[in-house]
Structures are given as structure tokens and as C-alpha cells.
Amino acid sequence: MATWHEYIQKEGTLPEWPYPIGYGKVNEVTADVLIIGGGVAGCHVAISAANNGAKTVVAERGMAKRSGAGGAGVDHWHGACTNPCSKVTPEMYTRAVFDSAHGYTSIPVRYISTREGWDTLLDCEKMGVRIRDVEDEFKGADFRDEETKLMFAYDYKNRHVIRVWGYNIKTCLYNQMKRLGVAVYNRIVITSLLTEGGRQGTKVVGATGVNTRSGEFYVFRSKATIIATGGVGRLWSFAPELTASGTMGDLNSAGVGQAVGWKAGAEFVLMEQTGPGWMYGFGYAPYSMANASNTYHGTPIVDAEGKEVPWVDFKGRQLETVEERFLPSAGQKFQLGIGIGLYYYLKEYVLNELTPDLPKRILEGEFKLPLYADLTRLPEPERRAIFGMMVGNEGKTRIPIYDTFTKAGFDPDKDMLQAPVMLPEAYRVSNFWSGMSPPYLRGLAGGGLLVDWDLKTSLEGLYAAGGSSLFGGGCHGESHTTGRYAGRKAAAYARMAPEPVVDRQQIEAEKAIAYEPLKQSKDGIGWKELNYAIARVMQDYCGQYKNELTLNLGLRLLKELRETEGAKAFASNPHELGRLLECFSLITVGEMTMNASLVRKASSLYLDFYRLDYPELDPPQWQKLLPIKLEDDRVKVGELPFDHHLKPPYAPTYEENYQLHCGL
């Protein structure tokens, strides 16, 4: 017995819902610090807040032991600039990211992440994550420091990215959180933030949510609240079946944190930035195909006849040796890794890569498809580090790739893994397993809650941490590090804050909204059909190219969906209810994105943002941030210079601000 189809055809009866149903039952929970989202960021917030004496509660959509985009593991940790071997300082790294993003990133988030990233990794080591080659398996390798036994990725000279054995990182965080007495409420879909007097723009005093197994209602009251939720993967890229198999984010990535923050009146920035989206189920399993990027950086790629595809440096010069692939060239300060929330890189920080004219050379017949990853061409330690250490510890690789492949007989010492067979132009980007996304599939790319040097949002009592809901957030390590910092700050705030007073009217209104889908006729549409329609509106009206009219029409259609099909969509059980409530968050985030796109009346190469009605690229007067928020349910637009975090009331340097705010 394995599938539902098998069960009902064997038993001849429908199985009843396995969990007790409690629709309408209200559970009240109080906390000093409430964390929305128990992924790696949220768990690290919880550990930090509990260590600072706060009564801490986590509300998690899945199950905090393994859930979240980072919950399936990690193989390298970016921005560990204060590790004893790093030749890159937090100042240098933050400057490189800021310059690469042409100002479109958050200085506090980037600086805090690099200033405390190594300390955060050391905390993870204490919790049981292996970060050193203690067994001397890689003794003498180019990427290893013999004294500390640390191993590095990408740029072996500058040593600011550390290879880690992080397949168990989430369970380590979870166990630590439990040891510290943090109360974890799993299977909760958050439906609103509670605010003082129930009004938009006032102090945040808690949240409401629904349990997706029991259907029970939850009211959280908190002195400080932290949004640590993930991305919004389902917004553009959704197909009713084969949904999340090709992605690095699960279906819980529904923008709930962004949506509730927006409705409470918090300020967001750069929600207009989108990038190429994932292929979802139409793609390949992550890391399952030959490629030469990220975890597989440096992997030799050969054609069907064994001819090797050359590697080139930032100036397009061919690299002759394997060693050179992992070193910066003359003229480069150091190399930044990929997967750090950057869409655009300055050449002086870019990684070496497969020759970018590969598509042309395939078309001309120089390289014959299919291509293969020939790991046997690497020295043994490098081969083992890629397939065995990194593949084996990165998210979704221990069981899905390493165990599955080796059980099926794959041996990196003897075998060449095939790349997907694609259109020649798809080989321009060496991350072949991500395939070639249809251009209408987009994803949010860097925008989120605007925070200050305390990682506090524009609302009193509300903080943010993580990689996706926070403006300027990037990778796995940054999520931990901003979580650790925000937890400390929120606990300090909670110590001084009065008892939270919630508005009963607001709670009753939220409760009524949450249960609406249960009252609809069961012959209507379900959450998937609604989700797909939302995705269609986003694909068509908020793609790479847009204009004033298409954006306004898109907003109109999202409103239509919310009030017509959405209002009649039904849920048969608490699980479907959770997914449907998430769809309303998707609509809200879609609206935020379209509103943010409307206020940027210029195109931008650095944001991959094209207004057909304002085609001029990056005109100087539009090189600024345009924060948006709701005030009396109307969109209010602000304006900030890129370096606003270094201007009064803040101090003029990164480090001075850090020292003034870090709370250490």
C-alpha cells in the first residue's frame, strides 16, 4: 500500500481525514518573541532570542525539524569573511556586493551577514554541524587549510567561502531550539499580523493562523515579532502537477510573510525586481544532471567524443589548468560565489566559467551533443569534494542524488554524467540542471521588507530575517546570520516592551476570513486552479517587459480573482484550506510587485526590469530605491538614496553602525 489510488481501489472506501478536526476552536499563545517561519533563519532567530532570555515561540508552516528552503542541507557557506584564513574583509565583501548590485541591495543586511557569518557558522559547529575536515580525508588539497582543517570553495586564494558538511544543519538547529525550551507550533499557515488597535501602520502585537491538520485557529500575542518566511515560488511558476520537483523551494513558499507584513503597513523595497524563474516540475531534479556551476563549480565538461569545453576567466582568456579555475585572474580583487541573491556581477568579482560562446560552437559543430561531466579528469580530492562531499551535503542531495545515484551504480571515478539535451542557447549558463526556463516564468529577486541596522522593519515591534522576505537577503548562510542578529535585537526590544494588547475585533474579522473557503460549494474550483490562474496573470501582465496599462490590467485581474473565483474557491479539509489561504497571499504579493513596478518609471539592466513605455536604461534620476507601503489601504511611495543607511541618523561607515547597533 503506498498511494491513495491503490488504497481506495483495494478498500473500496474513502479513508477519513486522519487528524481530529477543530474548525473554529481558538488557541491563544503568548510570547516575548514570535517568529513567523521556522526555516534556517527562523530557527536561528529562536535560538538567539532564547539565549537572550526571551520566551520564544515559532509558528512554522511545515515541520521545523526539516522544513524550509535551507532545511534540506547546505554544502558551502558564503561570506565567512572573519574566518582565520579569509583575505577578504567584511568591508571589501559588502562593497563588492553593493557595487555589483549597482546599489540595489541592503547595506546593513550584507554587512551584518559578512561581519557575523563566520561566528554564526562556529555556533552551528557547536550545535553539531561539521565544518572542518577533522578526519583528514582531504589532507594536502589546494582548497584545504592544514592548520584549521577548513575547506574552501570557488576562490581558493581568498578563502571567504567555506565548504561544509551541512546535510544535518536543520536537525541540529531544531534540536538546539528544543533544548532551549522554544515552543514550536508546526503546520500553521499565518493569516495576519495583529496590530495595536487593529490599525494599519501601528505596532505589531502578534499574529493569527490556522493549523493545516486540525483546522484550529491560533492567536499569537507577542512583544516582538519576526518575519522569517521564505520566497514566493508559486507566484509565476505553477503547474497543477509535478509542482516542486525541479526547484530549491517547496510549495510552502507562498509569500505569506510578505503578504501579512504588507497588509499591516510595513515598508517594502525593490519588489519590482524579478529574475528568470524556475522550471518547476518540467525541469530536472536539482544537481541530478551534468553541469559546472555552484556545487559543481570547476567540473570538466566534455562533448560526446570526449573533447573538453574550455574554461575562461573574467576577460574571456582561456584557462589552461584545472587549478586556475579556482583562482582569480590578474585584475580581479577576489571572486564572489553564486547563489547570494545577486542578479548582476561586476567583472572584477565574477567567477571563472565555461566559455560563453559554447552555444555558437555547438551550432557550428565543434562540440557534439550530448555533453558530459567528466569528473575523472579532476584530481581525486577535487572529484571527491564535488561528488561525495558537496553532492551529499547540499540541499536535496544526500538521499535524492548521492544515495540514489550510487545505489544505481553511478561511480564518479569511472562514469561520466550526462547533461540535459537542450537547445544550443541553453548552454550559455553552466548550471545545466536548471535547464532553460520559459521566459514568462519569473521569480522575485532581492526585494522585501526594508530594515534598519537593527534589522527592524518600519513598524514598531516587527523585525525581519532570512534570505527571501528580507530586502538584500541572499544565501543559506546569510539567513542564519540575519536570524541570529535579529533574534538578539528582538529579545532586547521585548525586555523593554509592555504586554501586547490585541484587538478583539481584528481577531474576529481574521477568523471569519480564514474559514470562508470551507463554506463554499464543493463543485467550484480548488486551490490549484486558483493558483494557476494567479500564475497566468503574473506571467502575462508582470513579466520581464511591462507597461503602465498591462500592469494596471494585471492589478484589475488579480482583484477579480480575489473577489470572484477566489471568493468561491472551496477547501475540503484543513490541508486544502492552508493551500487556498496561501493563494490569497500570492495575490497580495502579486499586487505588491505590480504596484512597485508601476512606480519605477524607467527600465533597468541591473534589475532585469523593462518598461516598454519608459525604455531608457538606468537613467540617473531613477537610480534610487522606491520603498512602498500601505497607508489607509492606499499605496504610498517613498524615495531613498542607495547609501541611505550611511547617512544621518546613521553613522558614515559600515563598522561604526555595526558597533552602535549589534548589541554585543
Binding site: 500500500m1 489510488h5 479513508p15 486522519p18 558538511w165 520537483s245 536535496k396 544526500r398 538521499i399 551504480g409
Partner: protein
């Protein structure tokens, strides 16, 4: 072929995502507990393997397999479209292999690093 025939919807894509070995699985439901998207539900019959209800919500993290205290009780299966994509070629013999093939080569028993 002589089973009673019911009106059921089409099997979803994918339909399986994990496979249980009923001789090893004792229905402890630890996999059900840790799944981030509630792909599986406890079997109405105690001590029996869970039922895969929301297969299409699986994101293939493998957490259920890692959590399982009884090796071999649960195996993760990528969608067929993704398994058929995973091909490799043995360098010295030129043989072709693929994930899920009929007569697979012997397993590579080397464990991951660490």
C-alpha cells in the same frame, strides 16, 4: 484484472514519490511527521505504511528517508520524467546506464564524505 472497478480520478503526476517496503516498515509515521508539505498521511490501519495522498506536493528533499529508523523501509523516487533524464556513460567501456534501468549495474558502496 478481476478486481472491482471504481470511478476514480486519473492518477496524479507523479503518483508515487516514495515506495514502502511493507516487510520493513512498521507504520511508526516518523516520515509523516517530518514531511514539510504533508505528502503522506497515516494509514487508517495501525502499523501499516503511510498513504501517499499529496504526491504532487513533494519537493524531493529526502527528509522522510533520512528520518526513517528502519533502513530500507522507505525509498524516494523522482518523477519518471526526471529519472529518465539521468543518464551516464562508463568512460572506459562506453556503456550507457540510466536511473531506473531494467538491469542496473552493481551499486557503488562508497558512502558520502563525513
Amino acid at each position: 484484472m478481476n478486481d472491482k472497478v471504481y470511478m476514480v480520478s486519473n492518477p496524479p503526476t507523479p503518483n508515487k514519490v516514495v515506495e514502502f517496503n511493507p516487510d520493513i516498515c512498521n507504520g511508526c509515521n516518523l516520515c509523516v511527521e517530518v514531511c514539510p508539505t504533508d505528502v503522506m498521511m497515516p494509514n487508517p490501519e495501525k502499523k501499516k505504511p503511510p498513504i501517499v495522498l499529496y504526491a504532487e506536493e513533494c519537493w524531493y528533499c529526502g527528509g522522510c528517508v533520512e528520518e526513517c529508523p528502519r533502513p530500507g523501509a522507505i525509498t524516494m523516487l523522482h518523477p519518471t520524467s526526471q529519472r529518465i533524464s539521468v543518464n551516464w556513460k562508463r568512460k572506459d567501456t562506453g556503456e550507457y546506464f540510466r536511473l531506473g534501468m531494467k538491469d542496473p549495474p552493481p551499486s557503488n558502496t562508497r558512502p558520502p564524505s563525513g
